[in-house]
């Protein structure tokens, strides 16, 4: 069933998004069932849900991707709806179909909408019917010689993309015609090994482009609206790091035009539930449809804060077959929201993921601060899942207020035991280009460096660091010498000897 009444939700996911959905369900008074792998027994989603069922080993293929087990757990626990979260099976049309065939409600769009939007070419064909603008490019399944011709016709720079890729994987930019043949061979080889499908296509590479996406909400009563844009240009290797709503680049007119285009794109596949239209916008404010994400996004909280709409709750309401809460598209966002993704990655070592136990975590609080997280002091970041520790979101009446609150929150946030990217965010929030809103999708990789700061540390700060490091070394040294030195007795040796002899008579 795509929509219908239900009384218990199984959450086929883990981490912060599972916790987010549990909270929405609890706010609606609906009980939840969590599932977990061997390494997630102590995770928050397992502890916060009403029921929890172990489903297998730590690797996703043994647990969170096991469609058969998930459906079986739903049957066993009496859950009559499944929420997939994001990642794992969220955009798997086959799983959505299985869930519906079981007579369960799938809290998401129809399998056909997922399948169409999940296939780049089918998506392009579908949205084209509704006059949605697309980035100039080729079809897939074209031979190398023809692709080389097509690339020069489109004009360099271009990007070679894997048909089966996505989420930033399987993309290779090519600047000049000279290196194209070589890059094409590499791209095909990579696509073959990563996705088992070597098919690629070529697209125009936009210069100075921003990644801006629109939140869509559609119910089964024929209503489709948008809830404004999110600016997601701060990314590294196509992984978003910071998102904002609204975007400094989007004025009321552009919002209305892009919003209408997004609604048209969603309607082209008869979309129901929450979804996101990702767009590229060039410097001249030309915008192009990139893809549709047929699920709740990681960065959905920024939209929630500027609209006052609880998107996870709306998803459940829509899946129950009710009319969605908001009835009109959002043209005037309320204030400004920023989200920083706090990842277990070391910004001083090329964003290398870090695993281990979080020994201490002190969360920031105070006005305008929200933290969505699935971990706690003592929990383990394992290599099996992504490196997201938490999402830190701040709201302000203006962009500057939201940014100042974010700076405050970042400076309060303490995570110890593993490396994390809070220093990256602090550095970014001090960067003049970021503050001025002057950035595109290449900003972090090309123009941002953890070795440079807008301001040098003051002399007194440097001296404090020197003192702290020295006192640390001094105490450690003293501690080491104490361990080696014989323990002092609290009584005289004569007394001690007397007691010893009495005990050993």
């Amino acid at each position: 069933m795509q929509t219908g009444p239900f009384n218990k939700i199984l959450i086929a996911n883990r981490g912060e998004i599972a916790v987010r959905i549990i909270r929405a369900a609890r706010d609606l008074g609906i009980p939840t069932v969590a599932v977990y792998s061997d390494v997630d027994r102590t995770a928050l989603h397992v502890r916060y849900a009403d029921e929890a069922v172990h489903i297998g080993g730590p690797r996703p293929a043994e647990s969170y991707l096991r469609m058969d087990k998930l459906v079986e757990v739903a049957r066993r626990t009496g859950a009559d709806a499944i929420h997939p979260g994001y990642g794992f099976l969220a955009e798997n049309a086959e799983f959505a179909g299985q869930v519906m065939d079981e007579g369960l409600v799938w809290i998401g769009p129809s399998p056909s909408a997922i399948a169409t939007m999940g296939d780049k070419q089918a998506a392009r064909t579908a949205v084209k019917r509704n006059n949605v603008p697309l980035i100039p490019g080729t079809e897939p399944g074209i031979r190398d010689e023809e692709l080389i011709h097509a690339a020069s016709r489109i004009g360099f720079p271009v990007v070679i993309k894997a048909v089966a890729g996505g989420g930033g994987k399987g993309m290779r930019p090519v600047q000049r015609a000279e290196g194209f043949a070589e890059s094409l061979a590499t791209a095909r080889r990579e696509a073959e090994s990563a996705f088992g499908n070597g098919d690629v296509y070529v697209e125009k590479l936009l210069i100075g482009a921003r990644h801006i996406e629109f939140q869509i909400l559609a119910d089964a009563h024929g209503n489709t609206i948008h809830l404004g844009e999110r600016e997601c240009s701060i990314q590294r290797r196509h992984q978003k790091l910071v998102e904002e709503a609204p975007s400094v680049f989007v004025d009321a007119d552009l919002r209305e035009r892009m919003g209408n285009m997004s609604i048209a794109a969603a309607e082209s596949v008869g979309y129901v539930n929450a979804g996101t239209i990702e767009c590229m916008v060039d410097r001249e404010k030309n915008y192009y449809f990139l893809e549709m994400n047929t699920r709740l996004q990681v960065e959905h909280p920024v939209t929630e804060l500027v609209t006052g709409v609880d998107l996870a709750k709306e998803q459940i309401r829509i899946a129950r077959g009710r009319r969605m809460g908001p009835t009109e598209s959002l043209l005037e966002p309320k204030g400004w929201a920023i989200e920083c993704r706090i990842n277990a990655e070391d910004p001083y070592a090329n964003f290398m993921p870090s695993t281990g136990q979080i020994s201490t975590m002190i969360l920031p609080t105070g006005p305008g601060v929200r933290v969505d997280s699935g971990v706690f002091s003592g929990s383990e970041i394992t290599p099996y899942y992504d490196s997201l520790i938490a999402k830190l979101i701040t709201w302000g009446e203006t962009r500057s207020e939201a940014m100042l609150r974010m700076r405050r929150a970042l400076s309060e946030y303490r995570i110890m035991g593993l490396k994390h990217n809070i220093p990256f965010h602090i550095n970014l929030l001090n960067s003049i280009s970021f503050i001025a809103g002057q950035f595109d999708t290449t900003f972090v990789e090309r123009r941002f460096n953890m070795n440079t700061y807008e301001q040098d540390p003051s002399a007194s700060e440097l001296e404090t660091v020197a003192i702290a490091a020295t006192l640390y070394a001094h105490r450690k040294r003293q501690l080491a010498s104490q361990v080696v030195a014989p323990a002092k007795r609290d009584a005289s040796n004569w007394k001690w000897m007397g007691r010893f002899e009495r005990m050993h008579r």
Partner: protein, 168 residues
């Protein structure tokens, strides 16, 4: 005790007396240095309050303060003497270890190849990301212990580099 702390190529001569008093380059400083549990410390110097996360890694002390990482070296009298004799700071080891369990995607170097500090030598896939592992020193690759497609555990030795300045 007398120490020399080196940060950003600046030297600070710091003396800690038996009563715990601190002198920086001969001048007294009012310092309250308190452990808040684990590696978290509160430092109040001349009434200015800071929180710092301090960890040590071999011969370096990493201080995370005001959202920045400061790599510092603290030398006591004995270490200073050793340093004067040797004439240089110790060079880092030329071993590249796996920072986490994962799958080797690519080995981008060969035994005998010359590498510069910061050159990518291994691509390791873990946590859904491809990570470039870099050479810790300028030198020549003396051994490669893994190949593409191989699964590795945390701390496995992957590549050894003979640093060019270690030969002297």
């Amino acid at each position: 005790m007398k120490y020399v702390a080196i940060i950003n190529e600046q030297r600070y001569e710091i003396e800690i007396d038996n009563a715990g008093g601190v002198l920086v380059n001969g001048e007294p400083r009012d310092v309250d240095f308190l452990n808040l549990g684990g590696s978290l410390f509160s430092v109040i110097t001349e009434n200015r309050s800071f929180e710092a996360v301090i960890d040590d890694d071999e011969d370096k002390i990493a201080v995370m303060m005001t959202g920045r990482l400061f790599e510092t070296q603290v030398l006591d009298e004995r270490a200073m003497l050793m340093l004067q004799r040797r004439g240089a700071l110790p060079v880092s080891s030329g071993e590249v270890h796996a920072p986490m369990p994962g799958l080797i995607v690519d080995v981008t170097t060969l035994p005998g190849a010359a590498v510069a500090r910061g050159d990518t030598v291994i691509i390791l896939e873990s946590m859904k990301m491809q990570n470039e592992l870099k050479s810790p020193a300028d030198g020549v690759v003396s051994a490669v212990y893994v190949e593409a497609g191989q699964a590795v555990d945390k701390n496995d030795l992957l590549v050894e580099i003979k640093a060019s300045d270690a030969e002297a």
